[in-house]
């Protein structure tokens, strides 16, 4: 299922976006430890396409999608 989330983003001098922290709607915050890869990809599960950030969050790999201008994740 597609879930839009609030994201803190750092924009570098070249204009590239680096997600820093994901805010869940129950108030929890998840820090993005590392971005392993960023490229365009579709999410069949969530239903959409965007720049897919493969991130390490809480020690686990998770996908975070930037669907200009919103961010989404796929949840079960």
């Amino acid at each position: 299922m597609k879930k839009y989330v609030a994201v803190d983003v750092y924009i570098d001098e070249d204009g590239a976006l680096h997600p820093v922290c994901v805010h869940w709607d129950d108030g929890r915050r998840f820090e993005v430890q590392t971005v392993i890869e960023a490229r365009r990809a579709a999410s069949l599960k969530a239903g959409g396409t965007g720049i897919r950030y493969r991130c390490l969050i809480c020690g686990q790999e998770r996908f975070l999608y930037y669907e200009d201008p919103k961010w989404f994740v796929d949840v079960k």
Binding site: R39, R40, A42, T49
Partner: protein, 414 residues
């Protein structure tokens, strides 16, 4: 040098995008269709499940429902289709500077300069096919050939998500057995003319004496002969960010059938207002006006004529459109939809030949008045200034086609 041209065609484009965006629809037969309330209720695209029920693009929703009672019908979201169309073109543009769009869902890509041989082109075609699926979540069928016509036929042969390669060695087997109507420009009327003469397949066209074809079909016959033999030499256009505007047009399916000249005048007036505003917006005057009339049985025709002088004035476009209409329609049936376009465009600052019989100052004042109306509408909305005529039938007069999403088909050789 032998060219290497791809034709990439998104499979069931609108329906594929809807199914991607709405995962819950994916296991059902889905069709995208216009709004039946405003009489746009025809099938625009369908997914693979719906295809199994033999649902066809262009048929009415009720016809489709008869074939498949469980059909899920969704309304089109054109903004999304434009986005996916653009994303697809971005991928194609990574492989060539020659990417030519043919509608929203089809593109030719010329790989001649970026590859050394057919094998390499085939590899790139496979890569594009994979990337479209992986990055956009929809599928594409691709044809690879040494000319645009065969590439397009190739993209139609295997669906969905497939590549067909047509070479000088195999085109007789692959292309010549196809029905003549599969060839670009063989429509209902040309198809019937060919059929009467025993020409049924593309191979038949290819093997008919071009002189005969010319005598039956005019110059178009020669073109079809070269298409069928893979001799079409037209180039894939260079990619440009915004295609040069060749015409500005607008059309509507009226909320009720139009039954007399007053109805037609009202509809044309409403369309002319939008076309003239868009001409000004784009910085053009039109030298030619063109109308397309479709009656309630869906028979249609196109007519055009030169204007006395290049114009973006609503009244002058309307006058031209009405003259064309009166000269070409005798009300054998009520009318369902009308389209008007200003073509043969020249920039606003192009020098203009004045005539003795036209009051240039008066025209200039009328042009200024139309700019003023644009300004008022820009600030206070379309309905803030209206012609009284528009109020005679509000359902027709108060449509605002300029802001409606209408996507026009494009010509192969515009």
């Amino acid at each position: 040098m032998e060219r290497r041209i791809l034709h990439a065609d998104f499979n069931g484009f609108y329906a594929s995008v809807e199914c991607l965006l709405h995962p819950e629809l994916r296991e059902s037969p889905v069709a995208v269709a216009g709004d039946p309330e405003s009489r746009h209720g025809i099938i625009l695209a369908k997914n693979e499940y719906a295809k199994k029920f033999k649902i066809k693009t262009g048929e009415a929703i009720w016809q489709a429902r008869q074939k498949c009672p469980n059909l899920v019908v969704v309304k089109p979201t054109f903004g999304e289709y434009l986005k996916f169309s653009k994303l697809g073109r971005q991928i194609y543009s990574e492989y060539s500077d020659r990417v030519e769009a043919f509608g929203l869902d089809e593109n030719w890509i010329d790989l001649t300069a970026s590859t050394d041989d057919f094998e390499e082109a085939e590899r790139i075609a496979e890569e594009i096919r994979f990337r479209i699926k992986d990055e956009l979540g929809i599928t594409v069928s691709i044809g690879l050939a040494n000319n645009k016509i065969f590439a397009k036929l190739g993209s139609d042969m295997k669906k969905p998500d497939a590549l067909t390669v047509i070479t000088p060695d195999n085109y007789r087997d692959l292309v010549w057995n196809l029905p003549a109507s599969d060839l670009l420009y063989v429509g209902r009327s040309t198809g019937a003319k060919l059929f009467q003469r025993g020409i049924v397949t593309i191979g038949d066209i290819a093997q008919t004496d071009p002189k005969l074809l010319k005598s039956w079909l005019g110059k178009g016959g020669l073109m079809l002969h070269s298409f069928a033999n893979g001799l079409d030499s037209s180039e894939v256009m260079h990619t440009v960010d915004s295609n040069p505007i060749k015409s500005v047009g607008n059309g509507v399916t009226a909320p009720r059938d139009l039954v007399d000249n007053d109805d037609v005048r009202l509809t044309f007036m409403m369309l002319c207002e939008s076309v003239s505003a868009r001409l000004r917006n784009s910085g053009f005057r039109a030298r030619t006006v063109q109308i397309c009339v479709r009656d309630c049985e869906l028979y249609w025709f196109v007519r055009q004529k030169k204007l006395d002088s290049p114009s973006f004035l609503t009244d002058e476009l309307l006058k031209g459109a009405m003259e064309l209409f009166m000269a070409n329609y005798d009300w054998y049936r009520p009318i369902r939809s009308l389209t008007i376009a200003g073509c043969d465009l020249i920039p606003l600052d192009a020098p203009e030949q004045l005539t003795l019989f036209n009051d240039a100052q008066m025209r200039e004042r009328r042009e200024r008045a139309e700019y003023t109306i644009d300004g008022i509408r820009g600030r206070f909305g379309y309905n803030s200034v209206l012609r009284a005529l528009m109020l005679t039938d509000k359902r027709i007069g108060l449509m605002n086609p300029k802001e409606e999403h209408i996507i026009f088909p494009v010509g192969y050789r515009a």
